[in-house]
């Protein structure tokens, strides 16, 4: 017989409880039980159980489940909107602290965003190429008996041989740098960003073609491809395709066969004009077997299935097979390397790179700075919030008494920090918008404030959540932990518990700030050192006029090449101190050429050193001293070929004991054999990143390409005008282009200049943010100790005494921070300076100055904040209760 109280399976009821919203559960379960009892009596236990289960299963349906979540989110969203309402009221009530917090965070976020944009831009170089994962550049290491070189260039025939040997190479593509005076009808421009290129380039790289068929527009000699702005420069609105351009020095005109969009700035190399590679082969055989002639950038496009590692590991064997014998004969050995396209911009810095390169270390450095500044800003928030926790104690007590849970309180404080971070982000975007032009200027970038992509949206939301949670969680936890009885009973010292941590955080902030200030001072000192370094030659007042040594210049007039006449007339037109025709001035790196020399034992050795091609007046123009022997003389005919002058570094490098010993020894370079006739003092013909290298100086007019003219002191503008009109009179077929040597030299340190600039701005920002935090803290403390100040004043304390009292603690913290930051900065800067042969030593004053700046900043900040309370009449502060 059935028992009086039939029971369905308990687990099924548990399922129902999970499924049903709390409010409906009782009514539903009641109905089910009633039905169950009925079925139990009518149909027996088993069928009743089964029906009960099916009925419960039918309750798992949207109509019930949705009701469940709807109600839950309703309560949740009510609470959340309440959190934000309360948070908003709190922010508005404490306007001063809220503004401090918002602006502190805003500056931090703005810095972070700017650096983020910068780094992002650095990292997306060459990303736009569709086949970027399959593109590699081949570069060469060359080992000579006494020195090793790393070139971005390769020998002419390498590409063809590689393609022949490795079936996995889809295309090879060579580029060779050139430039020239381009003209169309009456329009003439000097074009310097020009490359010879093969049509395979467009099968490899994803440059956008506007007109022309990229598969063949560089396949025949004398074809030319322009980017759109260049085309407009020559042809205006006309259709450029099929038009003919002439380039000075080429016997034939070029046919425009293609127009492309400008090469994106985030490319590791850019150009305005491409000339078909075939063109160069019509006048010198680019396919020749000169393996020690390096002039070609070689790119490979691998087939998708090709594993690059296979080719890389086969390269040594390949080299041996093709040029093993040649290498042995010359005594110089190649190692070829394959660089993935995506590594070129940041990780490659070889000789003769085809474009400026980024620096991975600076990326790391900037990322660190960005994070540090953001941390400083977060610390401000944490400090202010914990300091104020006393004030909020009563609120927490009340909330807990009426039933708020710890979690709810935490939620509430987090919503407050999220809201503040959100406001800060809005301000930060404004700051970014405002600072971006200046930042672009400093960083040499063209960044836009493009925040409307989903990646940026994720970044911004992530920033608000990350920064809000990081800075809100600690104060939130502290506050939520308060015991209501304690805080409501009396003014308990709840805030002091986190005092130690607060001080630690302040020390951390100041450590970072001081380290950044030290770095700023040291970097600017190093830059100054570079600027004022004695380069061994006179670089002031020198202007360089570029020209091309064409037939006209070489033509003989009255026993002299015409260029001499031009030089003399130009010099006379401005009363120049001196003038010299040269191939390279010291703002341009000279080429390194295969050379042979006679050592002190009279034996010929081969090597490779820099060559400087100049005329007779070189020493006078640059004011370089002769150490031994004599310089090139106009009056000695033999000096026109085979007379070499070395610098002191070369003398030492060749193993001679004295400069005199080197005289009359044999020397060989660029096919000229001759003797050493003199030795000049060392001068820095390359950047100060390098020691002075060995150098050979000689006369070879075919290679001249600029006049260095030393102007008399006075008005440059007038001198330039005089030079230009003289130039147009003498050489109308060439364009007057000038550069000042000083400017060229300064450009060599652009990267350092930028770093210095960026550093000084960011260190200023970091100290500003840290000071904002101190403003908050000190004014809060001053407020708290108001009564104490009043009593002290009544008892005879002076204003300055009270100021000292307040700042003493912070001064101590600053000093501790200084002790931390000095060694860190010292270590980091020593490593940075290692790269400079000409470097400052890190003297104590740099550190002391940075420390003092920080100290003055903190004391001034705190002083200004506490002055008010120090000056207040004691009667006001003592009467207030």
């Amino acid at each position: 017989m059935p028992p009086s109280d039939p029971k369905p399976p308990a687990w099924a009821i548990a399922v129902l409880q999970k499924v049903c919203p709390q409010s409906l559960y009782e009514g539903i379960l009641g109905d089910l039980l009633e039905q169950y009892a009925h079925n139990y009596r009518a149909k027996g236990e088993r069928r009743a159980n089964r029906l009960f289960l099916t009925n419960i299963l039918f309750f798992i349906r949207p109509g019930i489940l949705k009701r469940h979540s709807k109600l839950e989110t309703q309560t949740n969203s009510i609470m959340i909107s309440n959190y934000f309402k309360v948070a908003y009221r709190n922010i508005v009530r404490h306007k001063f602290y809220s503004l401090l917090n918002i602006f502190g965070l805003a500056f931090g976020l703005a810095t972070f965003l700017l650096i983020y944009f910068y780094i992002e831009d650095e990292l997306i170089y060459d990303n736009y190429h569709e086949k970027k994962d399959r593109i590699y550049r081949i570069v060469s290491d060359l080992k000579t008996p006494d020195r090793d070189f790393s070139f971005a260039l390769t020998p002419p025939k390498l590409a063809e041989r590689l393609k022949g040997d490795f079936a996995g190479i889809e295309h090879t593509s060579r580029f060779s740098r050139t430039g020239g005076l381009v003209s169309y009808q009456d329009k003439r421009f000097q074009e310097n960003n020009v490359y010879y290129a093969e049509s395979s380039a467009f099968a490899t790289f994803s440059w956008e073609v506007i007109a022309g068929n990229s598969a063949e527009f560089l396949s025949l000699p004398y074809q030319i491809v322009l980017d759109q702005p260049t085309a407009e420069k020559y042809f205006g609105k006309d259709d450029p395709i099929g038009k003919r351009l002439s380039i000075a020095g080429f016997p034939q005109d070029f046919e425009v066969t293609g127009i492309i969009k400008p090469i994106p700035t985030n490319s590791h190399f850019t150009f305005d004009i491409l000339i078909s590679f075939e063109t160069s082969e019509t006048f010198f055989d680019a396919n020749n077997d000169r393996w020690f002639y390096l002039d070609y950038f070689t790119y490979l496009l691998l087939k998708p299935e090709q594993n690059p590692q296979e080719i890389i590991s086969a390269l040594p064997e390949f080299t041996l097979r093709h040029i093993g014998e040649t290498q042995d004969r010359v005594g110089q050995y190649y190692t070829f390397f394959m660089q993935p396209l995506k590594n070129i911009y940041l990780k490659s810095s070889l000789d003769n790179e085809n474009g400026t390169r980024g620096n991975l270390n600076y990326i790391y450095l900037f990322s660190a700075v960005a994070v540090f500044i953001l941390v400083i800003a977060c610390i401000n928030f944490i400090n202010l919030a914990t300091a104020q926790s006393q004030k909020r104690g009563k609120e927490v007590g009340m909330r807990k008494s009426v039933g708020a849970s710890k979690n709810q309180l935490l939620n509430q404080f987090l919503s407050e920090s999220l809201l503040i971070t959100f406001f800060a982000l809005i301000v930060a975007v404004g700051i970014c918008y405002f600072l971006l032009p200046a930042f672009n200027d400093i960083a040499g970038k063209k960044l836009g404030l493009d925040l409307f992509s989903w990646q940026k949206a994720i970044l911004l939301v992530g920033l608000v959540l990350g920064v809000g949670l990081i800075s809100g969680i600690y104060p939130g936890v502290i506050l939520a932990r308060f015991k209501p009885a304690r805080v409501l009973k009396a003014q308990s010292k709840t805030g002091t518990g986190s005092g130690g941590l607060r001080q630690g955080l302040v020390v951390f902030q100041l450590t970072i700030s001081i380290a950044l200030i030290i770095a700023t001072i040291a970097v600017s000192q190093q830059l100054k050192k570079i600027k004022n370094q004695n380069l061994g030659f006179d670089h002031e007042q020198i202007v360089n006029l570029q020209f091309r040594m064409d037939q006209n210049f070489r033509s003989n007039q009255g026993g002299r090449d015409f260029y001499e006449t031009v030089k003399r007339e130009l010099a006379q037109s401005v009363n120049a101190v001196a003038a010299s025709a040269v191939r390279t001035s010291p703002d341009v790196d000279p080429p390194n050429w295969y050379s042979e020399f006679e050592d002190s034992n009279g034996e010929m050795q081969n090597t490779s050193i820099n060559g400087y091609i100049v005329d007779y007046d070189f020493l006078d123009t640059y004011d370089i001293d002769l150490v031994a022997g004599r310089f090139l003389s106009r009056d000695i005919l033999a000096d026109t070929s085979g007379a070499f002058i070395l610098n002191e570094a070369a003398v030492k490098f060749f193993g001679f004991a004295t400069p005199e010993e080197a005289l009359d020894k044999k020397f060989f370079q660029i096919g000229i054999e001759g003797k050493i006739i003199g030795v000049v003092q060392d001068f820095n013909f390359k950047s100060l990143h390098q020691q002075i290298e060995p150098l050979a100086i000689y006369y070879y007019p075919n290679f001249f390409n600029r006049f260095s003219i030393k102007l008399p002191p006075g008005n440059h503008q007038a001198a330039l005008q005089a030079l230009e009109s003289k130039w147009n009179e003498l050489v109308p077929q060439q364009i007057f282009t000038y550069t000042f040597l000083d400017q060229g030299l300064a450009d060599r340190y652009q990267a350092e200049q930028q770093i210095g600039n960026i550093f000084s701005k960011f260190s200023m920002l970091s100290i500003l943010i840290a000071c904002l935090g101190l403003v908050g803290l000190s004014s809060f403390i001053a407020e708290q100790r108001r009564k104490e100040v009043g009593i002290r004043k009544v008892l005879g304390a002076t204003t300055s005494g009270i100021l000292t009292l307040f700042s003493k603690g912070f001064v101590k913290l600053t000093l501790i921070a200084f002790l931390f930051s000095a060694p860190i900065a010292y270590y980091a800067l020593e490593r940075w300076l290692e790269a400079f042969p000409y470097r400052i030593s890190l003297e104590p004053w740099i550190f002391l100055l940075a420390g003092s700046i920080a100290l003055v900043a903190t004391v001034a900040t705190i002083g200004l904040q506490t002055l008010r309370s120090a000056l207040a009449k004691p009667v006001d502060s003592l009467r207030y209760e």
Binding site: G30, L33, F58
Partner: protein
């Protein structure tokens, strides 16, 4: 308005609520429909419909007293609101009107 239109099943459930008076709760309605209409309906369907009607304001509910049955669980008793009664009336009137429009064939 869409909300004012009663579905067939809604109308049925409301009619049951009206005629059951104080006894209108989930399982009772299921049984009543079976008795009066000879139609088997699922308990959860009735519940969901009742809650939906409650959202629309056509019925209201209150927990009744506990009884010895149902394991001591209270019943959720439903009753028509004024709006519910009017909606039911409207539905009937509309249908009557339509019936009257049918041409009489005799």
């Amino acid at each position: 308005m869409k909300g004012s239109h009663l579905g067939e099943f809604e109308e049925l459930v409301m009619l049951m609520v009206a005629l059951l008076n104080d006894e209108a709760y989930g399982i009772r309605i299921v049984e009543e429909i079976k008795d009066k209409m000879d139609r088997k309906v699922i308990l959860s369907a009735v519940h969901v419909t009742l809650y939906r009607l409650e959202d629309k304001g056509l019925v209201k509910s209150a927990m009744g007293g506990a009884t010895g049955e149902r394991g001591g669980r209270r019943k959720r008793i439903f009753s028509l609101t004024k709006a519910g009664y009017r909606a039911l009336q409207d539905a009937k009137d509309q249908k009557t009107q339509l019936w009257q429009l049918i041409p009489k064939i005799s």
